[in-house]
Amino acid sequence: MLNFDWLRNVSPAAAKAVFLGLFIVSGLLVLMIPKASILEGVENPRWWHNLKLWALGVLAIIFTIYSIF
């Protein structure tokens, strides 16, 4: 059990899908964050203050990397 033997039959392709799913779930959770929380501490909000866009941008990069490799 300590070596996760019960997952030994999961193929690397299925494992890759798990990681890609993790990135998608992370993106969905980011989208659910209230806008007021995102812009907290900003006096004159501009579009680039929206940290959801930053997070989704970085998630898009890592999603692409794990899709390719």
Binding site: L2, R8, F23, S26, E40, L51, A55, V58, I61
Partner: protein
């Protein structure tokens, strides 16, 4: 040996970084300035500083060596080992820490649980950082000796003086601002090796084609996800449970040297943005530290020691001038890690030990001076202990192993502390200490319990699980904290912070 132009670049780098660091001394007047830059830093400086602190010269050599042996799967440590954790830190933990006005992570644990948890967490980090300093100083000497011809003691003292001066006078502001320059130099130096190496290897296509024809041993070299029964240290199960869910979170959320910078930002938005900015730059780190190993596979196959991959590329491919630039990048990696460790350890000592247990209620200037003195003591300790790395070559691995014992349990109490109001002070203490003991036992009996040679990812996961279970069990058996005491410390509760000194449970 380096040539004249290389010497000039390295000396100019050392002098320039010292002058830049000392410039920021004029802004340091109090403990708040020294430890948290008067909470004035912009997100981009902190984001770049996080990356510079995280990456040292040993990553260039070590990760290139691992990618030479095992391929791109070592890149998981910078991609999966940072991204999800940095999102969690940016949107959940760091805003809470920032609004609570914290200086240290153990300070949060002290407020959320009790002073026992704070003391264990703080002393563990202080011991780890102090021992790590000696290793880093020795690594500097090892780099200087063959290239510059300097004896080890001269290299160590020269580095200690340069880093010590600006860290002593400039505090965290000098550390962060020099880190910004050091990250740029690291990126330029690392990218130089990759670009020149790829050119000689026939570009990306030439590289992949060459490795593809090298036989079965290299068939997984371009696969990030390795099977669960792989003999490499990176089975996907370990990457998911040990790295992604535990170690990366423990590092990005619980590491004082990383989080302290976010607490020094000018607003809560800058605190969150700094983590995301750092995550963006971290995406490029594997390309700088991992690709040289792959290039070496194609150009110099059959090396027995993978750690020689990076030095071999530098020696054979880089012309004078570029070697000096890369060496400056190496130095930048080491110095940015050393200065961050110095300042963070001084902060831990001053805020978590000296102010809490030895002298309460002194002036801000008094605590600043204590922090500066702690910096000097640590510097001397690091210099004195640096030759231990020569006498005991395994000391670096031993220190990293010591930290891995702590990370799973530490993250378990941070996680439950933030998300579960029912977690009590005794639950936290038992979870932390019991989890650390579990790690040690698993490590001692690893030969009987695990099928892979270095099961540190699995040890982190299982010690985390035991930490959670013990915390939950003991918390249910002990008296819960009143919600008023937890305000501002637990996700979902009202955000009015309350000092631990006023809390009845303390």
């Amino acid at each position: 040996m380096l040539s004249g132009i290389d010497y000039f670049i390295v000396i100019a780098y050392l002098v320039g970084i010292m002058v830049l660091g000392l410039y920021f001394a004029r802004f340091v007047r109090s403990a708040d300035d020294f430890f948290l830059c008067g909470r004035s830093l912009p997100f981009w400086a902190v984001g770049m500083s996080i990356v510079a602190t995280d990456i040292s010269a040993m990553d260039f050599v070590g990760v290139a060596g691992q990618s030479y042996r095992f391929g791109v799967s070592v890149g998981n440590f910078d991609w999966l080992g940072s991204m999800p954790a940095m999102l969690l830190a940016a949107f959940i933990f760091v805003p809470y820490f920032w609004k609570a006005g914290l200086y240290t992570i153990p300070e949060y644990l002290g407020r959320r649980y009790n002073d026992g948890v704070r003391a264990v967490a703080s002393m563990t980090w202080i011991i780890f950082f102090a021992l790590d300093l000696g290793v880093l100083f020795w690594a500097t000497a090892v780099m200087f000796e063959p290239l510059m011809g300097w004896p080890p003691w001269f290299s160590i003292i020269a580095t200690a003086i340069v880093v010590g001066l600006y860290t002593f006078f400039g505090g965290l502001t000098a550390v962060v601002m020099t880190d910004v320059v050091q990250m740029i130099i690291m990126f330029v130096g690392g990218a130089t090796v990759v670009v020149v190496g790829l050119y000689h290897a026939g570009g990306w296509d030439g590289l992949t084609d060459k490795i593809a024809t090298m036989g079965d041993a290299y068939q997984n070299h371009f696969k990030l996800i390795q099977p669960a029964d792989t003999q490499t240290p990176y089975p996907w199960t370990g990457i998911l449970f040990g790295l992604t869910l535990v170690m990366s979170n423990a590092y990005m959320i619980g590491n004082q040297a990383i989080v302290q910078r976010c607490l020094a930002t000018k607003s809560v938005w800058h605190a969150k943005a700094s983590m995301l900015c750092g995550a963006f730059f971290k995406m490029f780190i594997p390309m700088l530290v991992m690709f040289p190993g792959l290039i070496a596979v194609a150009m110099y196959p059959g090396m027995e020691d993978g750690d020689k991959a990076f030095p071999t590329l530098v020696k054979n491919l880089l012309p004078p001038g570029l070697r000096g630039l890369l060496f400056a990048g190496f130095l930048a990696g080491l110095m940015s890690t050393i200065d961050s460790i110095l300042n963070s350890t001084a902060t831990l000592w001053t805020k978590d030990v000296y102010e809490r247990f030895l002298k309460k209620g002194a002036s801000s200037r008094h605590y600043m001076i204590v922090g500066q003195l702690a910096t000097v003591v640590l510097l001397i300790f690091g210099v004195i202990t640096s030759p231990l790395s020569k006498q005991f070559p395994g000391i670096y691995v031993a220190i990293q192993t010591f930290l891995s014992f702590f990370q799973g349990p530490a993250f378990s109490i941070l996680l439950l502390g933030m998300f579960w109001p029912r977690a009590t002070q005794w639950g936290g203490l038992v979870g932390l200490v019991g989890g650390i003991c579990t790690s040690i036992l698993l490590y001692i009996f690893k030969g009987h319990l695990f099928t892979i040679e270095e099961p540190f990812l699995y040890i982190s996961w299982w010690s985390f699980v035991v930490g959670v279970l013990l915390n939950v069990a003991v918390s249910f058996a002990t008296k819960p904290h009143p919600n008023g005491r937890l305000a501002g410390l637990v996700f979902g509760l009202p955000k009015v912070p309350q000092s631990s000194c006023e809390a009845p449970a303390c």
